[in-house]
Point group: C3
């Protein structure tokens, strides 16, 4: 893959300063070979980039007048522009839009144009796969599942019957979408647990990414819903009937119990635990390892909460300091 | 699927009040369409059910004399009866008792009557599958595994060689049963770890349900055992040589270290951590996020423990309150 | 499988005392049948072993003069010698070095001698598999993956394109190696997250073992690296750009955030959380459930740290004691 800086600048909305040159992809400044594109957020990084063998540097306005012959792509958000450059190169890569002869695709499944289905993948009855979507080797797409356009399922993903997935969704290997929630009724006579119905559905909107071995359960009777643009890391658990807003970020190994509501723009650290029926409101930031008790509401756009039970960071730090004093007595 | 209320009442042990009608399944009161069956635990919910388009309501004795033309199924445990109605409808659904032509089944495997094996599932040598059990697409059932009658393995489950699974067991996608435990011996000379044998077995009794991407290891030299009726959520880890009693409930992302013993009827919240060789005695309730240290015993039927190290809830709340006071000083 | 004690003693470096006999494998003292080999670390266990039906006992020097007719294999590290005896028996077991006819192996893949590929495994273009390596049923080995000699992949492992795996590596079912890290750039204008490139690689050195459903991400632009001899339990998460030293032990459900460095010989308990860019130096022991904040360094060979934020065990215990006093006031 090769591109001219001028062509790339146009595609990603940056301003070229210096001579046009050919670039072959992005790299870190530490490992950049000739022909690669690197990025700098500040003067110090810019100096390192300038000395690297990289062909060009994406940087902020501060780099426009730098005294260096190396070409620059100037952008208001250089890290974002770098990400878009990488995505642009990725999009140019050929992709085998073929259905592997060893895949098992139900005749009733509806397949869009230009889709790729990997070896030994299974697409069950009445599933519906959008244009240009890629299903990795060994995936199992259940009965009646709907997947939108331009999605990528990495190998060995499992999607239970009836789940709906939007457009441009990325699902990593081992993720299980739409499994039964954890709900039982205890028979007061025998003391045994019997399964409460888990027959609702899981809906995942556009531009969501789901990490490896993450599990998201279907609703018990109604919906579990993950809204547009939300990004979920590896080994996360999302229980039945949860509603997650738009542009939420959830780091690895966090668990969200049944019927929680997470507002748009929330940022949830790793290994957080949220009890059932809790509400995390719009824009809340929950530090790693925090715990939110059942039925609680956590509120405050841009406010960082930490600890168990989660409190504003300031209060949490006060408690830690008090504890440290106490231990010294 | 259709049933008369009278037929269903007989099947699930409820008393019909009002006119017989046809019902087509269960639903939540929020989403119930005509023909659906809903349930109410109290007067307030009953009022909502009565106003919904649902065909009938399962409710407690309190609803027997309600002034409404909508038919009711009266039961001492309405939520349980609702769960049984859902199960009854599920059991009526046709199920393809066929072995998919793309499944790879060893000729030495013993298959019961009426079993279903999904596309591209693998059943290895000398495995033994009970009558009416369903093996989902992409599952791998190892050498010599024994699975009882009426089990359901969702797609992409892995069962290591020699594991025994009882009857009516449900295993969700991505679960790994009978993997090697985490045991090594450090060579005092080289400082390297060498694998301690992990050649015991995993036994899972009847009526257990195991969540998606949960891992349960085989015993090192002897057994790991999960007893009848225990329910395990997603992403739970159960280490080698653990013994879990009957009717235990374990919520998501909990980890139980090697050689622990969990008594019958215990309820273990999400993200709990239990150190090796700990004993959680019969009927103990461990709050979410609690930690139990190695070799400790937690005792007290029906008593709620919380925190790390886990203490009775009352003591835990006192500590939290004291901490809050301290931070204010 | 049968062996004489004399032959085995030679193979595992132990000294035979008593008559030679035939042994058929190892067992725990609780379950040992005739013909089995057991081990004893102390006099008390030795007495139990001597009374068991086992054919012989591996024990320390203390057992050399024990008054018993049962043969002994004497070793300076009896538990280690027992582990080696088990490994020796395992290595004698026949293993089907065949490529199952249902596996899908790209013609460009390079396969070593004597390798085994299970049913319905997928080996993609230009992958390279070393001699005597076994790939379990349902595994997916991505484009250009390199796997060394004598490795074992249990069923349903997924390895993303470009990952490199050393020799004698064991990977348990459901593990996902080399998946995309969790990295995004937020567009300050739209508020949406866009994917930061995750195109680095994962390198796993010799003698590593990786537990079931564990996820290890590739580097964003450069490497994630797991060095020789490190052992990782089930459901562990290791993020992009992490470097883990040699002979590190990581127990189940621990999460290691991006760009952390873990020194050789560190021991990390279960459910530990380590924030991004933290350094755990050589030989540190982190107790289960501990938390290390981002950018922190934890230092001290052989020193046990506990709690969140992790502190030396002594300090942690002082705090717990102070808290207990406080709650009693």
């Amino acid at each position: 893959m090769k591109a001219s800086l001028r062509e790339l600048a146009g595609a990603i909305g940056a301003r070229l300063i210096g001579e046009d040159a050919e670039v072959t992809g992005v790299a870190s400044v530490e490992s950049a070979a000739a022909g690669k594109l690197v990025f700098a957020q500040d003067e110090k990084l810019l100096a390192r980039c300038m000395q690297s063998p990289a062909a060009a540097v994406i940087a902020g306005e501060f780099a426009a007048n730098a005294a260096s012959p190396k070409p620059r792509l100037i952008s208001g958000q250089p890290r974002l522009t770098f990400a878009r450059a990488a995505a642009w190169f990725g999009a140019q890569e050929a992709f085998a839009a073929t259905i592997d002869s060893t895949a098992v695709v139900a005749t009733s499944a509806k397949l869009g144009h230009g889709i790729g289905v990997g070896a030994l993948a299974v697409i069950e009855e009445n599933a519906c796969i959008g244009d240009r979507t890629r299903i990795g080797a060994g995936c199992v797409v259940g009965v009646g599942v709907e997947i939108g356009e331009d999605c990528t399922l990495f190998p060995n993903v499992t999607i239970y019957a009836g789940t709906r997935v939007g457009r441009r969704v990325i699902v990593h290997s081992g993720a299980v979408l739409g499994g039964d929630g954890f709900g039982y009724v205890r028979d007061q006579v025998s003391g045994h647990y019997e399964k409460f119905p888990q027959m609702g559905r899981l809906e995942i909107e556009d531009d969501v990414e789901i990490g490896a071995n993450t599990t998201i359960d279907r609703g018990a009777l109604d919906l579990t819903r993950i809204r547009r643009g939300t990004k979920i890391d590896n080994l996360v658990h999302i229980a039945h009937n949860v509603e997650i807003g738009e542009d939420v970020v959830i780091a690895a190994q966090t668990g969200i119990s049944g019927s929680c509501v997470i507002g748009s723009g929330a940022v949830i650290g790793g290994q957080v635990g949220i009890g059932d029926h809790a509400r995390i409101e719009e824009g809340v930031i929950l530090g790693s390892g925090s715990g939110v008790l059942s039925n609680k509401t956590v509120r405050g756009k841009g406010i960082v909460f930490w600890g168990t039970p989660a409190r504003p960071l300031k209060d949490h730090l006060k408690t830690l300091a008090a504890l440290a004093r106490l231990a010294k007595k």
